[in-house]
């Protein structure tokens, strides 16, 4: 198995720390009534983007979903721009017009965030087609949940990507729930990865909570795309620590299973592992955590002080100007 080097291991930790802290702060801020927004917690799924995004460059493309703030932060979305956007403020990456489900940040390749299940994949293909024509070895990533593997766009997109040998990686974050419905009650295949076979594409299931396994699988898929070897379907097994949307009582989730998943939280496990293997000291990791906590606090205050957009923004950006 291809193990990340020590520097990358630490980089993965940094991104996990950022994501974990950001999720905790998001829920606190909403709970305190300081911010009103629909929030789809990604807590529990951090390993996937924290590893995958270390393999990507700024000019590689990402299409992500409403439960995708972890993907964006790991791909380089600046905290202040993110927080101002989810607060609906003018300093947000989309001037507050996109919100938490529609963040965009092209300078880091964050091209589309969609609130429609399954819709990252057709567009990621187009970005991959453009990259293929450009010939510079860029890759395109579509992330989505397990539920999205049951929608037509998934099947259309995997087929087209395979026929056209596109440099795209389909990253399924299988957290075992599609909205409120458990995996087995909605999905015929025991493994989503097996659906790759139907499209003559490598389908790989990986423990998405294991940073090294995740890194190795993602590296193989990204490398394949980069060298013109075509698409990969990556099924990353994980677990969603919270309900579908913040505030939902998640009574439909198995309590014992959820408790066990939280007990096995990959973040403290990875942290202990890094210390045990002398990759970093506890103090060093504490410093990383503290740095992000401070940056996030600063971003929250920045966002809440940022003005709302002017009223004329209501009707701008509907159409462009002719060149």
């Amino acid at each position: 198995m291809m193990q990340p080097d020590a520097k990358t291991q630490l980089e993965i930790y940094r991104r996990m720390s950022l994501l974990v802290t950001n999720d905790e702060r998001s829920r606190q801020v909403i709970k305190a009534g300081r911010l009103v927004m629909p929030y789809y917690s990604y807590r529990g799924q951090e390993v996937i983007p924290a590893t995958l995004m270390t393999l990507l460059n700024d000019d590689d493309y990402l299409c992500t979903i409403y439960r995708g703030i972890h993907d964006m932060l790991a791909k380089g979305m600046p905290l202040k721009k993110l927080w101002a956007e989810i607060a609906g403020r003018v300093d947000g990456t989309c001037k507050g017009k996109g919100g938490p489900m529609h963040l965009t940040y092209p300078s880091r390749g964050i091209m589309v965030t969609t609130g429609i299940v399954g819709s990252t994949m057709p567009i990621a293909n187009g970005l991959a087609w453009g990259a293929q024509l450009e010939g510079k070895g860029q890759v395109s990533i579509a992330t989505f949940g397990d539920g999205a593997s049951n929608i037509g766009a998934f099947h259309e997109s995997l087929n087209m990507a395979a026929v056209w040998k596109l440099p795209v990686v389909f990253v399924c974050q299988n957290n075992l729930y599609g909205e409120h419905t458990r995996y087995e009650r909605s999905t015929s295949a025991a493994r989503i990865a097996d659906r790759g076979i139907a499209y003559d594409m490598p389908g790989v299931r990986v423990d998405g909570n294991d940073p090294f396994a995740m890194y190795a699988a993602a590296k193989e898929a990204v490398d394949r795309a980069r060298r013109g070897g075509g698409p990969t379907l990556l099924e990353c097994m994980t677990y969603r620590f919270h309900g579908h949307v913040f505030g939902d009582a998640d009574a439909y989730m198995d309590k014992a299973e959820k408790q066990a998943a939280i007990q096995a939280d990959p973040f403290p496990r990875y942290r202990a592992d890094l210390i045990a293997r002398n990759i970093a000291t506890e103090a060093e990791l504490d410093a990383i955590d503290a740095k992000f906590a401070a940056e996030i606090d600063e971003a929250v205050e920045f966002a809440l002080k940022s003005p709302f957009p002017e009223q004329n923004e209501l009707i701008t950006d509907v159409y462009g100007e002719l060149a």
Partner: protein
């Protein structure tokens, strides 16, 4: 290369052509002028004969299958691929073979192509063209002939055009390809082979500009796409009855040329809107509302609309022939508006 599409070397001056040839020439000239123009859709490459009507014939041979790609029958994937490529500077022209098939790609068109500019606060835009064909009169029945332009015109971020003749088809396709926003380009299948004056190479018809096809004094008839030709035929019947019609070819449905329509109605005092789409909640309703609001005191008659009845396009020939407004009905309605009942 299809006949009349030749732009290689010194081309003999083309006097007449049909819409198939005009769109083919427009695509050829656009691809020649800008190597970021791409084409994708079902059957569009030459091994598949350049599409069911041969609109894209010759293009993959000339420009290569990297730029002209036949796709699986996967409308969401087609529009999605066009959107994605357009986000990074390519100019894809996606063919959705028939307008009814746009329904399969509605999420990509409405939730993504139309909205990404707005939702991104102007950071990204989607300069794609979606070519599609439709129209009753081809014995295709209920799922191959509908005009759904009102749906798209009702979607913020979309532009919708529907040329009525080959020269406009050429000029509007060239503009649509260079437009910074998604443009739905509606072609009429039954009138594909009707000849008309050929556009000069490089001819442009701005999006959002109507054309007065025929000047007149008594009544303004606003129309677009194939039924504009029914309106032109009706004009002759009206002339015999001593009624002079001014015919405004809207050409662009969204954003429609309010100024041109209001200018004409200000002159004639009467307005009739004619389209093939079903009448309730159609484009005619929007135009009627604006004309009545802006020119209420000047109108000599209520604004009238003609469109298909609220029905599916039928297969049986006599029923299909009765579906879209015909010249006689248009003439009768307009004459009644002028002369009274």
């Amino acid at each position: 290369m299809s006949e009349g599409a030749g732009t290689i070397g010194k081309e003999a001056k083309l006097e007449k052509n049909n819409v198939i040839q005009a769109v083919n020439r427009a695509l050829t000239d656009a691809m020649e002028a800008d190597d970021r123009v791409l084409i994708l859709g079902e059957d569009v490459a030459d091994p598949e004969e350049g599409g069911i009507a041969g609109i894209t014939k010759g293009l993959s041979t000339r420009f290569g299958e990297r730029r002209v790609r036949s796709t699986p029958i996967s409308e969401q994937a087609i529009v999605g691929a066009a959107i994605g490529a357009s986000l990074i500077g390519w100019k894809p022209v996606a063919e959705i073979m028939l307008m009814n098939f746009t329904t399969v790609a509605m999420d990509m068109i409405v939730n993504h192509a139309a909205k990404l500019r707005y939702m991104s606060g102007g950071q990204t835009n989607v300069p794609i063209v979606i070519r599609t064909m439709t129209g009753s009169g081809f014995s295709s029945g209920g799922q191959h002939s509908d005009y759904f332009e009102a749906w798209f015109a009702h979607t913020a971020g979309m532009k919708v055009v529907a040329p009525s003749n080959p020269a406009d088809a050429y000029g509007m396709m060239r503009e649509a390809i260079d437009d910074p926003d998604p443009v739905l380009f509606i072609e009429n299948l039954p009138s594909y082979w009707v000849q008309g004056p050929a556009a000069e190479k490089g001819h442009r018809v701005p999006i959002g500009k109507a054309n007065v096809s025929m000047a007149g004094t008594d009544v303004t008839i606003v129309s677009y796409s194939r039924v504009l030709n029914e309106v032109l035929a009706a004009q002759a019947m009206m002339a015999e009855a001593g009624v002079s019609a001014e015919i405004v070819d809207l050409r662009t449905i969204a954003p429609w040329d309010q100024q041109a329509v209001l200018k004409s109605v200000r002159k004639t005092g009467r307005c009739l809107v004619v389209h093939e789409a079903v009448k309730p909640f159609g484009v005619g309703a929007e135009i009627a509302a604006v004309v009545q609001k802006e020119l209420f005191g000047l109108l000599k008659a209520p604004v009238e609309r003609l469109g298909a009845p609220l029905a599916s396009v039928p297969f049986s020939r006599p029923l299909e022939e009765a579906f879209a407004p015909r010249a006689q009905e248009i003439a009768r309605t307009a004459i009644l508006m002028v002369k009274g009942g």
